[in-house]
């Protein structure tokens, strides 16, 4: 792909203007503003930068954010695979409706998700009133962050695994069964390796979304410094204190992480495509 020369081996018009507009608009709306972040960070000296991004309160927020996002993505990988399996393989009444509702976390504004989850898991809420007497406090604890991240990451694994599961050829399972494998062995040794690239892609997407998430978390988190304060909230706190440099430094760390995840997902998707093409 990269070695192809710039050619116009087609009669279709509009290459120059459309590509020009695309690059211009992309630069104006996305690249230029993002570069402001990098330039602003560059105004800090290296020790200042490290002191800001490695301060104890900031490090505590990384631990909470990344830990909860990792746990939520893990739960979503497991249950997302299960939901995709049930939706693809079994015929159930109302399946279409459930299938459509899986995308609810994409469509429901995060602030609505936030206040709703918070009220459901509060001490007097529908689920909180069941859980709290049993000693499980969800709202206003790190567990609440995990619940919110699980909610917003739910569709990713389902939607990446589902199409792969639909495309799987039945012959390979029949072959496994004919060769004497039981159902679990077939799943473990034949199906899971086929689904793995998609599963990991979904996991990575859910993880990345969880780390950056703000709206659905702040209502349920309790936002206690060192305990249940997520990194995006810390950026806002610094901004409200007019500590632009501090906010920017932390944002740069998160942006670097986003790039890393974007790269990972791209590589995973390339792997899935190669996997599927085999």
């Amino acid at each position: 792909m990269a070695t192809k020369p710039i050619t116009r081996n087609t009669v279709i018009p509009g290459f120059g203007p459309t590509l020009g507009y695309t690059v211009f608009y992309l630069s104006l709306i996305v690249l230029l503003p993002l570069s402001a972040l990098v330039v602003k960070t560059a105004s800090l000296t290296w020790p200042e930068f490290i002191a800001t991004v490695a301060a104890p309160r900031v490090v505590a927020s990384y631990k909470v954010t990344f830990g909860a996002a990792l746990a939520a993505a893990g739960v979503n990988a497991l249950f997302g695979l299960l939901v995709a399996w049930v939706l693809v393989r079994y015929s159930l009444p109302g399946k279409r409706l459930i299938d459509a509702l899986v995308d609810l976390p994409f469509a429901l504004p995060t602030a609505v998700a936030g206040i709703t989850l918070s009220s459901v898991y509060a001490a007097n809420g529908w689920l909180g009133s069941i859980l709290e007497p049993r000693g499980i406090k969800v709202a206003f604890t790190p567990l609440g962050i995990f619940v919110a991240m699980t909610f917003i990451g739910l569709p990713f694994v389902v939607r990446t695994v589902q199409p792969v599961l639909e495309e799987l050829e039945e012959e390979i399972e029949e072959a496994a069964a004919c060769l004497g494998a039981n159902r679990w062995q077939t799943f473990r040794r034949v199906l899971l390796p086929e689904l793995l690239p998609a599963l990991l892609t979904g996991f990575a997407l859910a993880f990345a979304r969880g780390v950056g998430e703000y709206g659905s978390i702040i209502f349920i988190a309790g936002n206690m410094p060192m305990v249940s304060e997520i990194t995006p909230l810390l950026i806002i706190t610094k901004l409200e204190q007019y500590d632009y440099a501090g906010a920017t430094a932390i944002a740069t760390v998160m942006l670097l992480f986003s790039f890393l995840m974007l790269l990972t997902v791209n590589l995973l998707q390339k792997w899935s495509r190669r996997h599927a093409a085999r």
Partner: protein, 280 residues
């Protein structure tokens, strides 16, 4: 599946008890994380009855928030729609170096935290930002004003239309357009008469998702809004204010408008997906 024998059906499914167990666990998970929160929005919104509900959504600040949200979506959806079509045309109909990089960059706003999406505009246009002093000297307000809200929304909804259209138009190839041009149609005629009918469902799909995000965005808008009641509050920000004032019934009443929007989005989305499957 009609030609499959009973034997091979059995080799592709699990024993009934396992099947039921998997279904029950999947439904419990979905119930806990999807149905309960969705039901809770409406239950809480109507907790104090219809009258209180109607008062909450008709109150002037709520109406101002609805108006601002509609304005924001009315600007950001069309500009990103035009961009999506133009970008998909360039990427799907031509070969050029760096195409993959361009596609990755277009997707970039999806991987950036909403908070950062707001922050970058504060760094550009805020009082301490690059253009801040110049803007202040000319009495132009972007941050803590409507233009900032629109800009942040345009950023977070940037990829929606493009990422739907690029794979769709790549899959359709360029034979039909080339045929039209060869037969003497102009570029615009080809676009309106050949391309648009081919991509209309994909276009609608992108617009629906773009609109849902534009109306529901919270994090990015929260950073640039300044939270001025009746002036720079969108619906999600108004929900936050009501909630933080412990005015829960009103907060959920206004939130239920957004939940309804989400449900409408899902219905239209499912319909479009069904149409796309039918036509392909």
């Amino acid at each position: 599946m009609s030609g499959t024998s009973a034997k091979s059906v059995r080799t592709r499914t699990e024993p009934a008890p396992v099947r039921w167990l998997l279904i029950i666990v999947a439904f419990l998970f979905l119930g806990l994380f999807l149905f309960v929160p969705l039901a809770a929005v409406f239950a809480q919104a109507l907790e104090k009855g219809w009258d209180a509900y109607l008062v909450a959504i008709r109150e002037p600040d709520a109406l101002a928030a609805v108006k601002l949200t509609l304005i924001t979506a009315a600007v950001s959806v069309p500009v990103n729609l035009v961009f999506g079509v133009v970008a998909a045309w360039a990427i799907a109909k031509f070969e050029f170096r760096g195409k993959q990089l361009l596609i990755t960059l277009i997707d970039l706003p999806f991987s950036v935290s909403p908070v950062i999406s707001g922050l970058i505009y504060v760094l550009l246009f805020g009082l301490q930002g690059w253009l801040g002093p110049w803007l202040q000297a000319h009495d132009i307000k972007i941050i803590f004003a409507v233009p900032g809200i629109v800009l942040a929304t345009v950023f977070v909804t940037f990829p929606f239309v493009a990422r739907e259209l690029i794979p769709l138009m790549e899959a359709q190839g360029k034979d039909e357009e080339e045929a039209a041009i060869t037969l003497g149609a102009s570029g615009f005629q080809t676009f309106w008469r050949v391309t648009i009918p081919n991509i209309k469902w994909g276009l609608l799909y992108g617009v629906i998702l773009c609109n849902a995000r534009a109306m529901g965005e919270f994090g990015a808008v929260s950073v640039v809004s300044g939270h001025i009641r009746g002036a720079t509050n969108t619906i999600p920000l108004h929900v936050e204010i009501l909630y933080n004032e412990y005015n829960y019934a009103a907060a959920f009443a206004v939130a239920s408008l957004l939940a309804l929007l989400a449900l409408v989005t899902l219905v239209v989305k499912s319909f479009v997906e069904w149409r796309m499957r039918e036509t392909s």
